[in-house]
């Protein structure tokens, strides 16, 4: 099962065979970065300043904009903008946390699996395949059931579920590198394994890995929103966007702002990181770089 004929699900190998114009490429990256930065800014500002206290329920129930509430209030009279800002923080936290776990566990597992041979190799590959077919959300539900519904559990759960995806990718990438001659040369010349990994393997796989992790970030944000929507994410009163949407569902028609704003921000963040991933792939991925004239 080396060198799959099929693309890895995670890295859509958009090999624009032709030289995409640099301008265009940087436009993608730029657009992605600005969208992501917008949300990151919200999250960062929320650390030092919020329009209202998060627990401040002094606003009127589902009030419209005004009275210091730029976007109005939610059903408990909390400021919507405040909630959106803390929500941004949770989303970014969820994304970063999950990806960190996925990277750590996934790369370790993937590298180990790549060195496996024979039936062990087949079994590991098959196991990862089965695991991947189970949606992140489902695995996360189990983890959350085992621990309790906190942001930490959600991040752990999502990160672990994603590490299977990362492990599979890394395994394939590493196998690809291992097949190259200079690795064989390094091995026969007696270079130690950790050295080989550090000196030859990681430098070769990191561009693809980084692009993939960026995509995983977006998926993690969506998964956290899904978990929160099901009541399994950051517990109330934390203003996770998913939870805000769940709460605003009942008042969708009467007070649409609360049911639209978190969704829009979610889309902005995920589109943003996906564009960043696309842009990065075009600039980093050796597969595409090689094809350029």
């Amino acid at each position: 099962m080396t060198l799959p004929a099929a693309p890895l699900k995670e890295t859509e190998p958009s090999k624009e065979t032709t030289p995409v114009s640099r301008r265009r490429r940087s436009a993608t990256l730029l657009a992605g970065c600005s969208l992501t930065a917008l949300i990151a800014l919200l999250a960062l500002v929320s650390l030092v300043w919020l329009p209202f206290d998060t627990d401040d329920t002094s606003g009127g129930r589902l009030a419209g904009p005004g009275d210091g509430h730029l976007l109005g209030t939610d059903k408990l009279g909390r400021d919507l903008l405040t909630q959106l800002m803390t929500g941004a923080r949770i989303a970014v936290q969820a994304g970063l946390g999950s990806v960190a776990i996925a990277a750590l566990v996934g790369v370790t597992l993937g590298v180990l699996a790549a060195f496996a041979q024979g039936w062990l190799d087949d079994t590991l590959a098959a196991f990862l395949d089965i695991l991947i077919a189970f949606p992140t959300l489902l695995l996360a539900m189990l983890v959350v059931a085992a621990r309790s519904a906190t942001l930490g559990s959600a991040i752990l759960a999502i990160g672990l579920a994603q590490s299977a995806v990362v492990a599979r990718l890394v395994r394939i990438l590493v196998k690809r590198v291992l097949a190259r001659d200079y690795i064989t040369a390094a091995r026969t010349s007696g270079t130690s394994w950790p050295r080989t990994v550090a000196a030859h393997i990681l430098p070769n796989i990191w561009p693809t890995l980084v692009v993939n992790l960026a995509l995983q970030f977006g998926l993690a944000v969506l998964a956290e929103a899904g978990l929160s929507y099901l009541g399994l994410g950051a517990p109330p009163p934390n203003a996770s966007w998913g939870r805000m949407l769940q709460e605003a569902q009942a008042t969708f028609t009467t007070a649409p702002a609360g049911a639209l704003a978190p969704g829009i921000l979610l889309v902005v963040l995920v589109v943003g990181v996906n564009l960043v991933a696309d842009g990065l792939r075009d600039t980093l991925d050796p597969a595409t770089r090689r094809r350029r004239t």
Binding site: D53, D55, D56, T57, R61, K75, L76, G77, M141, A145, S148, A149, T150, L230, G231, L232, P235, P236, P237, Q246, Q249, A250, T251, F252, T253, T254
Partner: protein, 509 residues
């Protein structure tokens, strides 16, 4: 049985919340027939009832849950007595009953001409079987402990049942209203039924709906509609959407005020504000520091503005209570003035208790609404008197293990759904650990009282004493909101203890 007899348990119905905290909790409920006396109605109508509480199975002694009570109690199964929607106990299958002088022997005469859905005639053997089923070793009935006073059941003839108690129990007849009379020969009671009610089960599709058909051989007045279908939803929004799109005609119990605006402003719907028995409690562990100190409990109670909390959770709905007793219980007294909101007083009490600088405690908060909201609110209120609250969000399952079984908590939030549940304060082993010899004695005496007046008198004392001791902080009484299509009339408004009688519901054509 003993002290705690007359309460029926069930914190949230029974099953620990079916879904992962989709925000559903159990509801409580009043009783008795709905509103309006419709002029003409469709006698062959199908009434679609929307609910959040699906039965786990159809046997209320095998963990059927709150949903089975809602769908089957009074509709499919009947007891010797029934609890009306306004909380009165009336005779149903019992034609008559006599109590011996010592209050230990109850003799019931059964109504004539009562038939089970299978066609068999009701006999005293069925009553004995049904009572024994509740008391059986593997019974998961929430009423089991209440009925354990039963020492002997005799059936002198086909129409007479004689029950002997081990000690007096004034709530015995009330408790009997929860005992379904089931055909002693019936089988597969988890998926089928054989009761005597005005409806028989047509079909139960798990995860979706349960439908009831009018029973032609019913002994009393026939149901006012031909078919009643309970549609089950896991999420309040989905349920409200169903009502808005006419997929259901009535919602048994709204769990948040969110959607009410759109129903109130629409003449096609009627929003009914009934009496509930569900109380939201900030339950202290009275055996854990610092809540061992009455003054600390009083201070916390006085530091929280219940009115504002109720307003923010329920909009204009719901009531304030000063104790465990809802207005529908016979021993109700308005005690909202006891430990009322007063920050100055709270500070003074804390000072007296030696906590002038405040303290901090962990609040175990179930992860579904309204608990987290209430916790947030309490946190911000108590901060004003120097008390720091650490909110620890837990699942219903954890709540049972950590709080209910292991008593490993300092304070918790929980909703208590049932009526007449003041008596738990007489049980020093209950999870909140309130232990007052006097109260325990009063509760025991009340249960063994000869007259309801005597019982009421004693429980009023319990009520006042627990309120003054701030045994818990009773934050508010939930509203019981039934929203129905304006075509409907005759539906229950209070849904006491989760019952929802469908047989009087009339639907205009």
């Amino acid at each position: 049985m003993s002290k705690n007899s007359r309460t029926r348990a069930s914190l949230y119905g029974t099953a620990t919340v079916a879904t992962l905290a989709l925000g559903l909790t159990a509801c409580g409920g009043g009783s008795d027939g709905g509103s309006a006396s419709a002029g003409t109605w469709d006698k062959n109508a199908t009434v679609n009832i929307g609910s959040l509480y699906e039965p786990q199975n159809l046997d209320n002694t095998a963990g059927g849950g709150q949903g089975v009570t809602e769908a089957l109690n009074g509709n499919v199964y009947e007891g010797l007595f029934k609890l009306t929607d306004d909380g009165k106990v009336e005779k149903l299958l019992a034609q008559n009953h006599e109590v011996s002088k010592d209050g230990l022997t109850y003799t019931f005469t059964l109504r004539d001409g009562v038939k089970f859905h299978s066609g068999k005639e009701l006999t005293s053997a069925d009553v004995k079987y049904s009572l024994e089923k509740v008391l059986a070793k593997d019974s998961q009935s929430a009423r089991k402990s209440n009925l354990e006073v039963v020492k002997d059941i005799a059936t002198p003839d086909a129409k007479t049942v004689k029950v002997t108690l081990s000690k007096k129990s004034i709530s015995f007849v009330y408790n009997l209203s929860y005992v379904w009379i089931i055909n002693s020969e019936a089988e597969n009671l988890k998926t089928t039924e054989d009761g005597t009610g005005p409806y028989k089960l047509a079909k139960w599709t798990r995860g979706s709906a349960l439908s009831l058909d009018r029973f032609a051989g019913y002994w009393g007045d026939a149901a006012a509609n031909k078919k009643a279908v309970y549609h089950y939803y896991k999420d309040a929004s989905a349920l409200n959407n169903a009502l808005l799109t006419n997929a259901v005609d009535v919602v048994t119990s709204e769990q948040s005020p969110d959607a009410l605006e759109q129903f109130k402003s629409n003449k096609n719907y009627k929003v009914n504000d009934g009496d509930s028995t569900t109380k939201l409690l900030l339950a202290f562990n009275d055996k854990a520091k610092p809540f061992t100190d009455v003054k600390v409990r009083q201070a916390v109670s006085a530091a929280i503005d219940d009115k504002k909390l109720l307003e923010s959770v329920w909009g204009g709905y719901g009531k304030l209570i000063g104790s465990m007793v809802p207005p529908t219980d016979p021993w109700y007294e308005d005690l909202t003035d006891v430990n009322a909101y007063d920050v100055t007083k709270a500070k003074k009490l804390l000072d007296e208790a030696g906590y002038a600088k405040g303290f901090s405690f962990t609040l175990d908060t179930p992860n579904y609404d309204p608990h987290p909201t209430a916790a947030t609110f309490i946190k911000s209120q108590l901060a004003k008197v120097g008390i720091t609250v650490k909110i620890n969000t837990i699942t219903p399952d954890e709540w049972y293990t950590k709080v209910y079984k292991n008593r490993d908590f300092t304070a918790t939030l929980q909703e208590h759904v049932n009526d007449r549940d003041l008596v738990w304060y007489g049980n020093p082993d209950f999870y909140w650990g309130y232990d007052d010899k006097q109260v325990t004695q009063w509760v025991e005496q009340a249960e063994e009282a000869s007259t309801t007046e005597e019982q009421t008198e004693l429980l009023k004392k319990v009520n006042r004493k627990t309120a003054e001791d701030a045994a818990s902080d009773w934050l508010y009484l939930y509203p019981q909101i039934v929203v129905a299509s304006s075509k409907l009339s005759g539906y229950p408004l209070n849904g006491l203890n989760s019952q929802f009688y469908a047989y009087d519901i009339k639907k205009k054509g």
